[in-house]
Amino acid sequence: MFKDIFRKTKYVTIKSGQMQNRTPSEVSMQGEVVGISKKELPDGLWVKCPKCGEVLFNKDIEENARVCTTCEHHFRISANARLALLVDENSFEEWDAELTTLDSLEFPGYEEKLIEAQEKSGMTEGILTGRARIEDIPFVVAINEASFMMGSMGSVVGEKIARAIERAIELRLPVVIFSTSGGARMQEGILSLYQMAKTSAALGKLAENRLLYISVLTDPTFGGVTASYASLGDIMISEPNALIGFTGPRVIKQTMRQELPKGAQTAEFNQEHGLIDLIVARTQMRSVLARLLRYHQEGAQYGATV
């Protein structure tokens, strides 16, 4: 069963440099997963807001960080689109893009799902990591990709996060992680589960080094990701209305025969229950992060003037 662990697998090739040549808008379209059938809006010029029902110019919401111009609904966006919105131009240096998944349990249908996910997301795995700058302040960033198997965490996602954190320690940089995930990735079994422990332990080292960690929760964040790195921020931020929880509402309903009250598991619900510091609209995210990063730059200790 484990004899083939180092066997080669058939994955999509994503040519080096390919991502860099795309415009943010192309990339974000790639990652859009809101339920609008292509049939309904065939030309890609229009998009219907799932919250207020308004039919919007794609171009308009593109210019508004993919936030509905009518009701401020936050459309899901791809990791690359988020990066483009967030960091200083040309400041991103990607790390560990070469790490790819091994179907070490030979789990039924996993390889096919991986190929599908790569095609859908244009990424090699469900997270983007590296270093970047916001308003010229350097930091380490990781961004989950929802369209890659629901941003689920397998060995590669866990490893990339742990490596990013360890490099942040070496470089003495703060870490910001944007989560969007269904949880641990079933197809890698216990190996996925232990990525929760791995990422949490790495954050323990970061904390020991007194380096800032900001966790930004975006829609949706559930399961093993909520129960590990996503919940361990010194500062916990969420986008408005994002669904965040440990167990998904459908499972709660099935298992407990319990219907969740309206608004349960939203960012606002989580904040009321003491779990989130700040709810920040995507259009404000860059400036809020800039401020928080600046307040935690080295040299701000013991009352030095910044």
Binding site: Y11, S16, L99, A162, S192, S231
Partner: protein, 328 residues
């Protein structure tokens, strides 16, 4: 007699036949001792055959057996003394998690254990062994205390998973589990975790990220319940058996995957068949590792725990080598 599984019926049938023959022999005064001896040998062989080749799903059934020993069954056999300490100091005492100070082979240890009930009444009290955030927060409180006083930590895992109700969500189930993982990674004392029954997902892992992971040989430890996995994969919860095989979650699988460090022998057919024997095995294995870990320095204990977690997982490291299909 204990609840019988389908796969145990051939053994039971033979045992009944032996009893019938013995009765016949006694009633009629005919010596059938040779036949009985042959049959008993056959029973022994059959047991070895059946219990030695259990499928993953059969192990799940044993691990979930209603009479499977729980932590409170093992405690008096493992410890010279166990003083239970309660509460998270914040909200409640969660009775699906037991914790306290115990004397183990003359060593003062802190113990944290998940506890399922043995009957419906107890299961309601213990929420079927599914901890709420207060259970994990109690665990962290007591483990922090162990760290403060330099006591080794023994954890015992036996849960279908963390509680999944509205209250758990309101009180931050994810945060509570994550804090367990973070806390455990920082301790300078030995942490030995043992799966004694069911190791259900993140709710189990919260107590499982120690220096050493032991597993009773019929226990399992999975990222997802086989029923839920089947439901997602094949939209059919009755295919749990297939999911159980696909998930590679038995003690033997985890040993091969480098997640478990050693298996603990159970009495034949499962721990419920001989509690004392299983407890004795468990005691010896834990003791062996505890002695080994005691010889390490606090800093090394911590560093090795980190290194162990860091190496779990498989992936390709070199770009392009596995990429054979062009996206464009």
């Amino acid at each position: 007699m204990a609840q019988l599984f389908e796969f145990e019926k051939p053994i039971a049938e033979l045992v009944v036949r032996i009893a019938e023959i013995q009765k016949f022999s006694a009633d009629k005064g005919i010596d059938l001792s040779q036949e009985v001896a042959t049959l008993e040998k056959k029973v022994a062989l059959l047991k070895k055959e059946i219990y030695g080749n259990l499928e993953p799903w059969q192990k799940v059934q044993i691990a979930r057996h209603s009479e499977r020993p729980n932590f409170y069954d093992y405690a008096p056999l493992l410890f010279e003394d166990f003083t239970e300490l309660k509460g998270d100091r914040l909200f409640a005492d969660d009775r699906s998690v037991a914790g306290g100070i115990a004397l183990f082979h003359g060593i003062v240890v802190t113990v944290i254990a998940q506890v399922k009930g043995k009957d419906t009444k107890e299961n309601i009290k213990r929420n079927f062994g599914m901890p709420h955030p207060e259970g994990y927060r109690k665990a962290v409180r007591l483990m922090d205390q162990a760290e403060k006083f330099g006591r080794p930590i023994l954890t015992f895992i036996d849960t279908p998973g963390a509680a999944c109700d509205l209250g758990a969500e309101e009180r931050g189930q994810g945060e509570a589990i994550a804090r367990c993982l973070l806390a455990m990674s920082g301790y300078h004392v030995p942490v030995i975790s043992t799966v004694i029954g069911e190791g259900g997902s993140g709710g189990a892992l919260a107590l499982g990220a120690g220096n050493v992971l032991l597993m009773l040989e019929n226990s399992f430890y999975s990222v997802i319940a086989p029923e839920s996995c089947a439901s997602i994969l094949w939209k059919d919860t009755t295919k749990a058996k297939e999911a159980a095989a696909a998930l590679k979650f038995t003690a033997q699988d985890l040993l091969r995957l480098g997640v478990a460090d050693e298996l603990v022998r159970e009495s034949q057919g499962g721990a419920h068949n001989n509690l004392n024997q299983t407890a004795d095995e468990l005691s010896q294995v834990i003791s062996k590792y505890l002695i080994r870990l005691r010889s390490e320095s606090p800093e090394v204990l911590r560093e090795k725990r980190y290194e162990k977690l860091r190496t779990i997982g498989f992936f390709h490291e070199t770009a392009d080598i596995n990429l054979t299909k062009d996206l464009t």
